[in-house]
């Protein structure tokens, strides 16, 4: 058990190392000089002043050092929580910019992922093997899971904000308000949250429902299910066993889908100008803010790794077979 954990941890550390290395390359191997880009964005500064600024910023970002030293410095800075300075929101540190975006991501993603996973599994298990449900409601599930996140977002925004005019579609709260713990503010946050949440929830729900339906059909045809049936076990009991077994692949499916979900959340945030990390990435790309971009990717990598690790642990806790297989019992 201990050996297994150590090995897993090693893989995660290796992943982190490679991901951070690629991340480090983003601003440095981009054609074009990030500092020059930044000065160009700053507008018409005096030529001499620009030269001074250029020299100052190159030193400030450490871009004049040998490449290996830059790499070591990057790791060093990373462990001190220093990701550089944002060009877009100069002179705010990147960490600061990201910190103010993260709460919105958590607010949007955690409920959408967890609730859609639970609801989708329940619904998929319910629909499987009942002819009427399978033929009427499951095509709906397939269509939902085939819907591009941003298109559903655009449609929802169009119907609720433009035609019905009942929900606002831009930002995380009304631009007239300042963050505070008042009912007006909380309501405003909820009002702006519901459409992006709904587009993420609906698309993911379709995917989980289909996944569970397909899994449970295979499970119900497994030998143990037939054996139980032959023994005269009640249908409900067999279905419950099948459901429990089907939950495992659904859980690993969740780990697999995190990357897709992150991309979907990014597109959704863009549709609604929702100020999470996805929206920040768009802003960073459009403004050539490579340091901010680097920071955003780093946070996504850390988030996905953490989530994967949690799912791994849950997997071990609920499935003894994984434990055996991973320790080499299967080979």
């Amino acid at each position: 058990m201990k050996r297994y954990f150590l090995r897993k941890l090693l893989i995660y550390l290796l992943t982190f190392f490679i991901a951070v290395t690629i991340d480090w390359m983003i601003p440095r191997f981009m054609p074009g000089d990030p500092v020059l880009n930044m000065l160009a964005k700053a507008g018409s500064v005096h030529a001499e002043a620009q030269e001074v600024m250029y020299g100052y910023l190159t030193t400030a970002f450490g871009l004049d050092l040998p490449i290996w030293q830059q790499y070591l410095n990057f790791w060093n800075a990373l462990f001190h929580g220093d990701l550089g300075v944002s060009v877009l929101q100069f002179p705010r540190p990147v960490v600061d910019v990201i910190k103010s975006a993260i709460p919105f991501d958590l607010l949007l993603l955690i409920p959408a992922i967890v609730l859609s996973w639970i609801a989708g599994n329940k619904f998929g298990a319910f629909a499987a093997r009942s002819k009427r449900m399978d033929n009427t409601l499951l095509p709906v599930g397939y269509i939902l899971t085939a819907t591009p996140y941003m298109w559903l977002g655009i449609l929802l925004g169009w119907v609720f904000a433009i035609i019905l005019k009942i929900i606002p579609i831009s930002g995380a709260f009304s631009y007239a308000l300042k963050p505070a713990l008042t009912w007006t503010f909380v309501l405003s946050v909820l009002e702006h949250w519901i459409l992006p949440f709904a587009s993420l929830f609906i698309v993911m729900f379709g995917g989980w429902a289909i996944g569970m339906r397909n899994m449970i059909i295979y499970e119900l045809e497994a030998d143990y299910a037939h054996y139980l049936e032959a023994l005269g076990a009640p249908k409900r009991l067999i279905r419950r066993y099948a459901y429990n077994n089907a939950l495992l692949p659904q859980l690993s499916g969740l780990a697999l889908k995190l990357g897709v979900i992150v991309a979907g959340a990014m597109a959704t945030e863009i549709v609604f100008s929702y100020p999470g990390i996805g929206y920040l990435i768009l802003m960073a790309i459009q403004n050539s803010d490579y340091f901010l971009l680097q920071g955003c990717f780093l946070f996504i990598i850390i988030g996905v790794l953490l989530a994967n690790f949690i799912i791994d642990i849950v997997f071990i806790l609920i499935d003894p077979r994984t434990r055996l297989g991973m320790q080499g019992g299967a080979s």
Partner: protein
């Protein structure tokens, strides 16, 4: 049962399966539309033919964009791009996934550890980070390049699914039997394991096909898509930039998303139908 008879039986069930028929019909319809649509377009792609936005009319079948471009021309060309991305991107991803998944799942031990490690690493690294570097280097990007890139980054999904399935088959009796009889690794993988998950592999390909289409749509929407031509994702990107939503130009942003949803949804439904055809246990309710 002879091979010939088995084939006939599969055909019989395929022709009887309404999910397969409906799904295939929708996909086929869109393929036809993508092939013959461009010759019905009255106006050249992306040219500013009208003064401004126009709702659909006899002159502009699907209206025009806020800048006066023909939406119909963009739509039919975009459909073609969608199928190329699905075929090339989904194909590459499935092949790479099979290669990695079979060997990792069958061999176990350090081979699996290594392959799974690589899979996990690529799975975790945001595709956008790699794409961005490419985007910066290639000022001109085409659909084919985007498809290849999607294929090269999306295979871990398939690899993990196939690996898990292989894991569950490796400990079954018939594989043990094959091992005892001294069969080689490749032979066991392709003779014993692969045929037993054929429908699963096909399902993986169709999922990858659809996944590649959705991925491309997201990339295009964010503005990292092809720089020339048209795609359905780009149309949505242009519509968002042109404030189509706020101005209510529904004919601009509804068709591209609807087409993606219909094609990918039909592929998935077709997939269920095929599954029922290949797997006799699923036929009777």
């Amino acid at each position: 049962m002879s091979e010939e008879k088995k084939k006939n039986e599969l055909l019989f069930f395929a022709l009887r399966n309404s999910k397969l028929k409906i799904g295939a019909a929708i996909v086929f319809l869109f393929v036809l539309f993508a092939i013959f649509g461009p010759s019905f377009a009255k106006y050249p792609l992306n040219e500013f033919v009208a003064g401004g936005p126009n709702p659909p009319s006899a002159d502009y079948y699907m209206g025009t964009t806020a800048y006066g471009q023909d939406v119909f021309a963009q739509f039919v060309h975009g459909l073609g791009s969608t199928f190329i991305v699905g075929l090339v991107g989904g194909g590459i991803a499935t092949l790479l996934g099979m290669l990695v998944g079979f060997f990792g799942g069958y061999k176990g031990g350090w081979v699996d550890e290594l392959l799974n490690g690589v899979t996990n690493i690529i799975l975790v690294i945001p595709t956008f980070a790699l794409l961005l570097i490419m985007v910066a280097y290639l000022k001109l990007r085409g659909i084919l390049l985007e498809s290849i890139f999607i294929g090269l980054t999306c295979w871990p999904w398939a690899a993990r699914a196939i690996r898990a399935q292989t894991f569950s088959l490796v400990s079954r009796e018939f594989v043990d039997l094959a091992k005892l009889s001294g069969m080689g690794t490749l032979k066991i993988i392709f003779r014993e394991i692969a045929p037993n998950m054929m429908s699963y592999l096909f399902m993986t390909f169709i999922l990858q096909f659809g996944g590649a289409i959705l991925n491309a749509a997201t990339l295009d929407f964010v503005g990292l898509g092809p720089t020339q031509g048209a795609s359905l994702g780009l149309m949505m990107n242009w519509a968002t930039i042109g404030s189509a939503l706020l101005l209510g130009y529904w004919w601009w942003f509804v068709p591209p998303g609807l087409a993606i949803t219909a094609i990918v949804g039909a592929l998935y439904i077709m997939n269920v139908g095929l599954d029922e055809v290949f797997n006799p246990k699923l036929r009777e309710m």
